[in-house]
Amino acid sequence: MAHEHKLEIFRGRWKFKNNIQKIWGVLLFLTIVTAVEVVLGIYKPEMFMSPFIAPFEPGFFGSTMNVVLSPFIYMKPLNLIFIVLTLIKAYYIAWDFMHLRDETKGLRRAIVWTPVFLIAYLVFILLAEAGYIYDILGSEFVKWNF
């Protein structure tokens, strides 16, 4: 079971002498990312609490831009930061702890792209529907908050 290990992370910017050192390096990185998340979560800096871009006026151009830039228009930047940091952590857990970095490209793609595609689709339809139901609840059509 001789295994070849790829011993560099951050696209080769951080190289390690052996696999054990790489594991500790990745742990350090994951710990720093988690600490950043926790600090942001406790202090909630004011600058990240309202969306960066205001919604565009509805219309062909405006509505398209609202969809394309929706993470920056409808989401608090803080939450966007959390989700991006989570995906970064997930990448390093899968690539270095689950050693996908050392697997063949085909296996890696089969494992990653299948769920990514399905989850993106599931999240899109569920959240689009949830947004619609939120509008209905806000339109006084249903009395629920009493």
Binding site: I23, V38, G41, F82, M98, H99, P115, L118, L126, L137
Partner: protein, 330 residues
């Protein structure tokens, strides 16, 4: 040790033979990945439906920082600290697992034993913390009133802005209130333990204590208190309390003092499902731990079993990273 029945298909790429391995992965490892991918889809289904409920009630969802504020053995308000600790324990036990796999590749039996041992300990600490978190969540903290519409009204001290517990102001009325039992019921149902106070006692206490205000679930959108829950003044509070139906203490699948009942449902379901994964992971790790001690993999000539179990264990960690984000951070 090789007891596999030969079927004569070993030469075939997809025949499951041990020599010819599709995508460079052995049969067992491939099957573990199949399982992990499908389990990942199950978890994303849960988290996506949680997001659905949260989007639907975007203006009134409980604020996690106000719900999970406890640390064992310490009093006070420490949001996030304990979950951060749990996250770190799980990542740390993932690290010892990778180290066990690495030692396995080098056929160092004693290192594998020690690293597996630490992994099991880390997992046990995590499950224990999870159980403590559940117990605290179920027991509750301040108590609240549930209205006829199923909304939650919480109480705040007007002068300090701190949360007020029901026991701080409810006036004992010594009313006759007998627990309902199913022998006395028309239809077959009983009643769980009565809360410490009746609705009447809470409302009487509220009227007698001008320092108490009602806090609703709605999140303020504009102004100074933006992002906090809405505080009513005295007359609005009394108006809202007129619709009281239950006193809620703690949380279960039906009532929940922290706010929207779906919050507790999803909390129990998602962290429970994840906790069950951790529990099974710990059990499987223990089995492998003893197998390593007995020398099973030494005789087999490779420690691939440790690697396969490791994949599962890292997956549990991976899921927790997402649960942490979507339950406690966002």
């Amino acid at each position: 040790m090789d007891t596999t029945v030969k079927t004569g298909t070993e030469e075939n790429v997809w025949g499951g033979g041990s020599e010819n391995r599709p995508l460079g992965a052995s049969y067992g490892k491939m099957m573990m990945w199949f399982f992990i991918v499908s389990d990942a889809l199950t978890f994303s289904g849960f988290i996506a439906s949680y997001s659905f409920a949260r989007f639907k009630f975007a203006d009134s969802w409980p604020i996690a920082d106000e719900v999970f504020t406890h640390i064992p053995l310490f009093h006070g308000n420490y949001p996030m600290i304990y979950v951060a600790f749990m996250t770190f324990v799980l990542i740390m036990s993932s690290v010892t697992m990778v180290l066990a796999v690495d030692a396995g590749h080098k056929m160092k039996k004693n290192s594998v034993i020690w690293y597996m041992f630490f992994t099991v300990i880390g997992g046990a600490i995590f499950v224990g913390s999870q159980a403590w978190e559940w117990a605290t969540f179920i027991k509750g903290d301040y108590g609240a009133i549930e209205t006829k519409g199923g909304r939650i009204l919480q109480f705040v001290k007007a002068d300090t802005g701190e949360r007020a517990a029901l026991r701080d102001f409810a006036t004992p009325l010594h009313e006759e209130r007998v627990s309902h039992t199913n022998s006395k019921g028309v239809w077959f149902f009983g009643e769980t333990t009565l809360p410490s106070f009746s609705v009447n006692e809470v409302i009487t206490g509220f009227k007698a204590n001008p320092n108490i205000l009602v806090r609703t679930e709605d999140i303020v959108k504009e102004g100074e208190r933006k992002g906090h829950k809405t505080l009513l003044n005295r007359s609005e509070s009394l108006e809202r309390l007129a619709g009281s139906k239950y006193v809620v203490e703690g949380a279960n699948l039906i009532h929940n003092e922290y706010g929207n009942r779906l919050f507790a449902d999803f909390f129990f379901f998602i962290t429970g499902f994840h906790g069950f994964h951790v529990l099974t992971g710990v059990l499987i790790n223990i089995i492998i731990f003893f197998n390593v001690i007995l020398g099973t993999y030494e005789r087999r000539g490779h420690y691939e079993m440790v690697e396969k179990v490791g994949l599962y264990w890292h997956f549990v960690d991976l899921v927790w990273v997402f649960v942490f984000t979507f339950f406690y951070l966002v």
